[in-house]
Each structure stands twice: as C-alpha cells, then as structure tokens.
Amino acid sequence: MTRILLSDKLDNCVARWRKAGLTVIGPVKKETFSSYATVENAAEFDLGLVMPDRSIKGLFFPQTEPMVHYSIKKQAIETRDFTPPSEKRIIFGARPCDASGLAIDDPLFGWDYKDDFWFQRRNETVIVTIACTKADDFCMCTSLKLAPDSTKGSDILLRPLQNNRGWQVEELTDRGREAFKEIADLLQDGSEPAAAVAVVPEKFNLDACVAWLQNPENFDSTFWKEISMRCIGCASCTFLCPTCHCFDFQDEGDTFTGIRRKNWDSCSFALFTMHTSGHNPRATQSARWRQRIMHKFNYFPGKFNVNSCSGCGRCSRQCPVDMGITETLQAISTLQP
C-alpha cells in the first residue's frame, strides 16, 4: 500500500496550500514559451510537458533581482532591502533534472560565503517533483548518472500511476512532509502500480569524457575550435541551464537614487572576462565554450564533487545552431583520452 494523490484532488490541494499561505507554482504554458509560474488553480498547470522551456533556476536565482535600493542625500547614503523578500512557496510538478540542478548549485552558493538570496528561497520552497514518464530526444539525465525518477533536490517525489489517475506519493524530507500534512485527508491508500519511467538512452560515456577533459594536454586541443565553430555566443544555453550560475551586478538609477541589481550573466559573452586594460583571458568563442564544458565536468566536480549538469538537455534543445553539451560530449567520447 502506498499513499496516492488523485489528479481530481489536485485543485483542492492547490486551494489548501494557497489558504495555508503558500504561493503555488508549477509548469505553465504561455503564449510563446513554457515555464514554472505561479498559479491560482490546478487547471493552469500543464503537467504534460516533457519539461518547461525555462528551467526552475529563475525561481531561486531570478534573471534580475534588486540587491539594494539606495538613495544619496548630501553626506549620507541610505540603503534598504538588502535581504530577499520572504515568501513560502510550493513548486508542484518540478522535473527531476530541475530539482537536481538546485541541489547541484547549493554548495556553490554556500561555500564560505552564503548567498542569502539563494538560500532563503531554497529554505522557503517545497519542491514536489513528478517522475518523468516521457522524454524527448534531448533528455540526457541517464548520461549524467541521474534518472527520470531521481529524488535529488526534491522534497516529494510523485510517481504517475499506470492508469493515469494520479500519483504515488514519496515523502523525502521534513519540508515535504510538512506541506503534505495540509492535504493529508486528500490523499488515500492505494495499490495502483506506478507507470514505467521514461526510457532515456545513454548518449555518451561520462567517465570517458571526464578522463579526456582532465588530461591537461587536451586543453589546447584543436577539438575546441572545431566543436565551437558554430557557436554564435548568444548565451541561450547558459540562461536556460538549471545549473549555470554566473551573474553580474548592475546599478540602475542616477547619482541620487536607484537600484543595484544582480543579473544573469554568461561565460559565452566576450565581455564577461574582459579586463579594463583590454586584455581578455578568454578572448575567443572556443575558449569560452571550453571554459563552459571544463567548468561543468572537470572544475566544478573537482571543487564540489558533483557535475554541474543535470542532463535536462535544454542547451541542445534550444540552441539556435544545434550545438550543446550533448553534441560536445558525444564528440569527446569518440576521442582518445
């Protein structure tokens, strides 16, 4: 016997959570793209998507976010809002790759210096993940040693039932249990079997790729130039990536009043590393693409013991020139270490 949540109870659940003061968020299809967005009722969810176009990252590390409002008066600087706004939230229908992405970035935002803006949102958000029963050609979680029903980063894992009537409920954390207490009476015991998880074929041999990347001789390989020749440096891959975390600070306003913002930035941009002197350590697109691959599969795991990729495949799926991590690692797989 397992606990079951039936689909027709979902609207009730949303109402309960909202009543308990939680902002309810889930996959929503918009006019030109899909993303995780706030809903008022369950009808707004689109749970049939393989995954929303935009990753979950923006809910924790927004595309742009005020760090501080400043105002300057004669010989005084007044500032306010140096803390993230508090908001209790539940994300229903996260994908396992998106939830994993958050767990991957936790150590980065927490090493020595803790980024409150990330962690307050992490601490105040319940993540209810639904295991994937379908995948597309770009999905590659299995190649990253994750799975369509990976529990990493999730508070609750829901497994879709075979008969498509609802989900088996797997409570993973206290935060998840707490949120599901609100809807305890809407759950029922059941023995319906879970549907098979999506089949995601392995696209490359990660260990072989990592071995190649770790060989210092390959840093100067002509491979980097060849593989990144098509890259137009648009940064779509980094913005859609659930684990890419680079950012910039920009001040908006004038000498007297304004906002300092933290904005997404990308290692794909030439200006990203450019010194004032004009010297640019990563002056070419191939150097920048090499940095991105090296960072994800060599440097980041060396620091935090985890690959900075959860296999969602968005980088390849949305790339305007059809190159992404999959294509690059597939090509590396065929090279001699």
Binding site: I77, D112, D115, C246, F272, R282, M294
Partner: protein
C-alpha cells in the same frame, strides 16, 4: 599554500560605507584614495580579517563596483588606501569623488602573502606601472617590521617618468640605506633630468642580479611583464616556489559565485589573488 582569512557578512553583497579622507594624484589618470570606515563594527571586522595581499571591491552607488587590491599594508589598518587608473564608468565616478564624499567597499577578500614565511630572508620586489600598489602593500608590511628581514631590493619601472606611481614613497625608499631601490623607465620614457635606469624591467632585473639563495621574489605587473620577469628570475636561479605574484582578474562578486575570475579550476577571488609562480605555471596558460 596560503590560508584563507575571511568572514562573511550577513548579506555578502552588502558593502561598507567609506569616507574619502585623502586623495593623491600619482600619475596621469592614476589616483590614490584613502578611505575610512564609518561603521566601527565594520572597521573592527576589517582589522580582524585584513592581511596583505587581499583585495576589495570599491564602488559608487549608481555606477557599480571595481576590484582593486588594498594598497595599504596590514600593519596600517586604521584606513584603506587604493590606487586606480581612471578608465571606465566606476573609476570615473571614483575619480570625480572628492574628499568627504562617501563611497563603498566590500572585502577584504581572497588570500594573503604568507609574510611570516619570509622572515629572515632577503626580499626582492619587482613591479611595473600601476602594479606597484599590490607590491607596495607587501613592501610596507615588511618595512614596518624591517628587522625581521634580510636585504630588501625594489625594482620598479614604468613606461615614462610621469607614469611612476607613489613618487613620494620612491623618494623615501631611495633615501633609506636599508633598501636597494632600482628605478627604470622604458626606452624613450626618460626625461632630461632622469638619473635612474632606462630599460625594460626584466632586463634591469637581470642587471641587478639578486642572488636567489634565501630570497623571496614578489612580482606584479602587466601580463607581458610578468611573463618575461619570470623568465629572468628563472635565469637568475630562482625557484618557482619562492616567487609570488598576484593575479588581477575581472571580478564582480569577489566571493566565488559569479564565475568570471576562474582560471582553470582556480577561483582567483577565493584561492587567490596571491599565488606562487609554481602555482601559476600549473594553471592553463591560455586562460591567464
């Protein structure tokens, strides 16, 4: 190599408010500013944490923040001095700030020069142009406890005589008999009354020929100068592990999050900016 001495604020991106108490024009477009903390608690934290070699982010609200070393030594932590060249948006705003104006400071960040490991040794400082400030912080840290070190040699060069920074301190160092000061300007950069050397820093360094035994070298300068100075030091017999430098990469957060200062797997902001030449040579050279 070096230990990190860092303490996080409650909000790690919140800068301290600083008052400009003095400013000094060093060279065309190059200015030094002296800042004082306005909040005693923040000053106390700075005094606890600041060690020579660390850097900070200096800013003006409405314009942004820029990364510079702390040019004043840990032995003089009542204030912060930093030197910058006016070239972009933030540095222009800083240059336009006057004594009494308020600016911001985040830090101190990064690692430090392990000065206690230099005790009893000869020191040679080599720097070029506007890279004297990070070296100057180490120089004063050592001069303020001069008896703990052997021979001190300073080799400093700039493109022209006008481009030499800290001219008043160069004069002071020149007068002292416990320092060997070697000044040079690039060929063509000398003025009619220039009494010192003419030549590039690495060449002049080779002519000064410091003995590598029991000697620590601290070098700082533009990438091209560093490259050739390292070759010269190698020629003179210096071991890479006795040569220190500081890497000045573009930074935004200063605390290992924003991703732009990385050289290979190294986060310059957290594992640096101070490295030995041995450590630098292990980094992917193309990304420096």
């Amino acid at each position: 190599m070096t230990e990190n001495i860092q303490t996080a604020h409650q909000n790690i991106y919140k800068p301290a408010i600083m008052k400009i108490v003095a400013r000094h024009d060093e060279a065309p477009g190059v200015r030094t500013m002296k800042l004082e903390f306005q909040n005693p608690a923040e000053h106390e934290l700075f005094k606890q944490n600041y060690r020579t070699g660390m850097f900070g982010l200096y800013g003006v609200y409405g314009e942004g923040e820029s990364t510079f070393c702390v040019a004043s030594p840990e032995t003089r932590n009542e204030y912060i001095e930093f030197t910058f060249r006016q070239s972009g948006r933030v540095t222009t705003a800083l240059a336009n700030s006057d004594i009494g104006d308020l600016v911001t400071f985040r830090g101190p960040y990064g690692n430090r020069f392990p000065i206690e490991n230099f005790y009893g040794k000869n020191l040679i400082f080599v720097s070029g142009g506007i890279a004297l400030p990070p070296t100057r912080s180490v120089i004063w840290s050592c001069l303020d406890q001069r008896e703990k070190f052997g021979k001190v040699t300073i080799v400093y060069g700039a493109r022209t005589v006008a481009d030499l920074v800290y001219k008043h301190e160069l004069e002071e160092w020149e007068r002292r008999d416990d320092i060997d000061l070697v000044l040079t300007v690039d060929p063509g950069g000398e003025s009619p009354d220039w009494k010192h050397r003419v030549g590039f820093v690495p060449t002049v360094l080779e002519q000064a020929a410091p003995a590598p035994d029991n000697c620590i070298a601290v070098i700082c300068g533009p990438p091209i100068m560093i490259k050739f100075t390292l070759m010269s030091l190698k020629k003179l017999g210096f071991d890479e592990s006795n040569v220190y430098t500081t890497l000045e990469n573009r930074m935004k957060c200063g605390v290992g999050k924003c991703g732009r200062c990385n050289v290979g797997s190294i986060y310059v902001c957290k594992e640096g900016p101070v490295f030995t030449a041995a450590e630098v040579s292990k980094m992917p050279q193309a990304d420096l």
